[in-house]
Symmetry: D2
Subunit: 359 residues, 4 copies
């Protein structure tokens, strides 16, 4: 390990569900230590513990395990006032409108890993999926130069994109991809909690629309699978068409994928491409990395979101129902939308950069 | 109306969930009067009312409205002993293995409308979807001749096929179809009740496999959209690929459909094709027919199975989320799997034949 | 019917879920015609149809059937500006804080039927459950005198109280009641929709607390079952203790009730008391009244909220699982929380007063 | 630790859901090693791994973690043929009818811990809840003598009884108990999986009846909290009345409890009684014991089954919503029905006996 030291870390938006997931992802982290939490002015000045408690004693903490004691004792700062130089690395979990204003101020001084879409489609900003396209981090040099930042902004993609590109990348590398038709059945946690999805809407139901989601999946997939040529992104040319729906599932996004490949592999070759994928990356042993990027299932009833979302600590993408014929390859994947697909994925990206000495 | 008289009707498998749906579909029916109910030997000899009641008083009736009083008073017959000549028309709701044995005995004398798959793939048997391919009933003449039957067997398709072909037929007629990629999110009631889908399996979950379902959808769609030439079925040549999943939805199948059209219509032309579809058929005013075959939604959050499954008494297919570009047409449909997709669809098919005087 | 004329009606809070339930309850009503709809300033000036539609085309209408065409065409008024004299009767579906300010202004001139708790606990205000305690409307005379109102405020109780008192009243009348221990498993719709109950909270879960609910049930039950003596309410002396929980059920409140009776009836006498209850009231044939106030079930698996909430158009309370021994009577009830338990119950109360000529 | 050696263990009914929970509870167990698995004749002769796999590759394993490798390799024996002397201890997870025949044959030679109700109500058989009434194991001497067994049968109670008695015992000890009124909202896993609860029945619903459950809770609670006098059980005299319902919750039983105490404690005394309960037992450090028997919650929205069922590895009972007045004490508990309430509870009972040297 080339990692030299501990990094002090700020989590912005720390009181919301998405921010809490960063606090959870960083619990007991060997390299990153949360030394600052920031949120809206309403929470500022309270201890993090108090900010997570309603006046009637109700908890507003929504992750499985309680936060580290030392994080509970931190005083929540107003995000607008946070001094970026007070920490080494910043993770943000805020709405895109807020991110558009806040993140440049932070990136002026420090690396910012963001789950917001605000900067995803800028020409000098990579959308990073750990283990998939970390080479696109090269664009950061021009981001810094162009914007005069000492830090940078690295957004993660939309949570639905993550599982898709993790499974497309090995196919692209081995066989080439021409066309992708996708239907997602997404878990509730991706919508946040307050308001999130009202129980009245989704009980005994499928909600056939998630505003803006399909466009994000289509656009981000092209960018992530694309190349940087002459300092500019050239999106991959495969057609991607997504239908995104919401199912009554707590967490975990299920995606039914139809891929038309450029090559003509056997099913065995497809399985091997999936199984071998990411072995080198996982072998680095980064703290948040799973043992394997992709888990293949032979049981035709798998993957299921309830059973498979937590595979590899929520960082492994599960694939099953592989069907291949001369017209294309079909499979179903399950990916954890708030772990690999959000906070913990961002932490893994930061770990990789730390490991490379580029953080 | 050319209909001359009342038809006496037998429901076979009347104590199971699928059979109960026939009893419900025929409640207060103006033309068809249930005069016989049959089930396995275990229920035979009891009144229908008693056969629907457990020893501890628990009801085994699973439809919304109670059966007609006169049906409750009928004595359940052993299906193996039912005299087909005691009624005019027979509706069967039994497992395929049982159907393979029983239905020929009944069809020897009487018309049999079946929800079983036993005879769907025979070359002289049409798979009927009312309003879509009733012209394929012409093949019955050769069915009778070849098999020496005075009656006939007309199976309905798999419930997932029904919504699909209702929405593909107007596209086929107007623009031609080359390729169909489909993901279904199916309701629970299609699996029956005992055992049906265990609640433990589907709570907070998507089940990514329904045994045999995808093959049925692919095969049946080709046959239903195909033609009869020289007395033989020529399946339509469009490629159909289905991924069938089970969602935690009581009733109603949701299907995300991607269609590649032969022609190059505008979105307005597609909408018109859907909206105009089946007007003549609905105008016949058959007792179980809806006002319209297809209901289009502009609200991007529709159709939803809970809100739209009962459109048109469960006989209208709802379509929304129409998206069209040069690569294809995408939409989402909701179809009621146990009404249009099963018993009530079979009753409507029988009504159509009665109306044509061919029953 | 002594009713002489149509009443023009205003619905306040008409764009929210609770107000929409008034619009639904009054659809095609033979006596009450909605001529005004009011909401917050944000919706004021739009047609009701437009106020129910999001910019992206999404509907904000959450009831089963669409509103009357003529209501859709009404212009939404700012509730703060509504002229009470422009209508004959007013139904309000607003938060208690807003009700406390607004309702007195309206009651100065017109009868106000309210689902808010703002005035429930005032000494000159009855909490009305149709068919149970309409004689308590006598207190209105002193309400008017004391407050100088030409109209009045009649609040309905909390939705959980409604099913309870409907089933306690016949027991009280026939046998006397000493103690009531109650556990509710409440449906989601009682919490409204936005924010309402987040799906993430209630999926695969029971929420063991509903803020303020238990106190309301305990207090309101005493008042409704009590008497007016010398112009003042004397609450009934029975001890009532409630535990209120939220279940993952769309609509319908299920309540497990343990009652200690003063008398010592047989089970047959208890059943008769339930079955005979409200016959006279129902025989009046009021438009929103059910055929029977209480439906008894012998099937031990009933009542169930999904199967029984809509009994009698949502106005009949279903009772089952009657168990009686020397220590008390136990039963389970299901009551529709947004029909009998809210808007439609308020409409029924108004109908009764209209029928008596006291509106 | 007085424990001298490893125990070899047989699990009977090992292929069913309840038996699998024993296999899970014993995974990597430091004292108990599964050396035999038995099931019906249908599975006999297959490896345990093969017996858990359907012909189409589908898994029939329903627990979270896969079984130990060495258990997967065991050959399933026909339970009817199992030689009890081939192991040291036997855990059974079979239907009561089968247990009534099989368990005496096994108990002739070996200790049998059973989740079946077959022997629960026998006068010489204790119903054991670890940490609550292990002193009742004294009756085993007379069981052995009377029946001529070298082993014994120790049944665990019904899963709903377990959480109840864990929380009643400290109240009984400290204050005395006179009356208990209970409503349960039970998870699905208690009903098993095949058939278990059909998803169609419980979606958007509460099922108000579980056959035989209430009688079991009432009877078992008295026996467990009672005493052995002169070699015979004297049930505790408190009145217990239960209403048992099924909710759409995967696992975890929620119980709303009303207790009338003999004494008149303060709320602080009640809380202390709960918090101090079982400290000595937990301090023994038995492998399956939790850190604490009871976890108190101040957050009024806790306990919730989804959040709290796994407290203490599923062995801690969570209590919240404590309300105390002169009429009684009310609280809500959550208890894991298949861990503390079944297999893992049985394992803990066996551990305690092993630790005492009485196994």
């Amino acid at each position: 390990m080339a990692v030299q030291r501990e990094f002090s870390v700020a989590v912005i938006g720390a009181t919301g569900v998405a921010g809490q997931q960063f606090v959870e992802a960083l619990r007991g982290h060997p390299w990153f230590k949360i030394t600052a939490v920031a949120a809206s002015a309403r929470s500022a000045g309270k201890s993090y513990a108090d900010a997570l408690r309603e006046p009637n004693g109700a908890s507003r903490w929504y992750c499985d395990s309680p936060p580290d004691e030392n994080v509970l004792r931190l005083t929540v700062q107003d995000a607008a006032d946070l001094d970026p130089e007070s920490v080494d690395v910043i993770f943000t979990a805020i709405e895109s409108d807020a991110a558009r204003e806040l993140e440049p101020r932070l990136a002026l001084h420090r690396p910012v890993f963001s789950t917001a879409s605000a900067f995803r489609y800028e020409p000098d900003v990579p959308i990073i999926v750990p283990g998939v396209n970390l080479e696109q981090l090269d664009i950061i040099a021009s981001q810094r130069e162009r914007r005069g930042w000492k830090g940078f902004v690295v957004p993660l993609p939309n949570c639905t994109t993550v599982g898709l590109v993790v499974t497309l990348k090995p196919l692209l590398t081995a066989f080439g991809i021409e066309r992708v038709i996708l239907t997602s059945m997404q878990g509730l946690s991706g919508a946040g909690r307050s308001p999130g999805v009202p129980a009245m809407d989704v009980l005994d139901n499928i909600i056939p629309f998630i505003s803006g989601e399909e466009e994000k999946v289509e656009k981000e997939t092209g960018k992530i699978l694309g190349e940087i040529r002459d300092g500019a992104f050239v999106p991959h040319g495969a057609l991607v068409r997504a239908t995104c729906t919401r199912a009554n599932v707590l967490e975990g996004h299920t995606e039914a994928v139809h891929v038309e490949l450029a090559g003509d592999p056997s099913e065995g070759q497809v399985r091997t491409a999936f199984e071998e994928y990411g072995r080198d990356f996982c072998a680095r042993g980064l703290p948040s990395a799973p043992e394997r990027m992709i888990q293949l299932h032979d049981d035709p009833y798998r993957p299921q979101p309830r059973l498979d979302r937590d595979a590899g600590g929520g960082m492994t993408t599960s694939i099953g129902r592989i069907r291949l014929d001369e017209h294309g390859l079909r499979y179903i994947l399950v990916s954890h939308n708030t772990k690999m697909g959000a906070a913990k994925g961002a932490v893994l990206a930061a770990e990789h950069m730390a490991d490379l000495g580029t953080l």
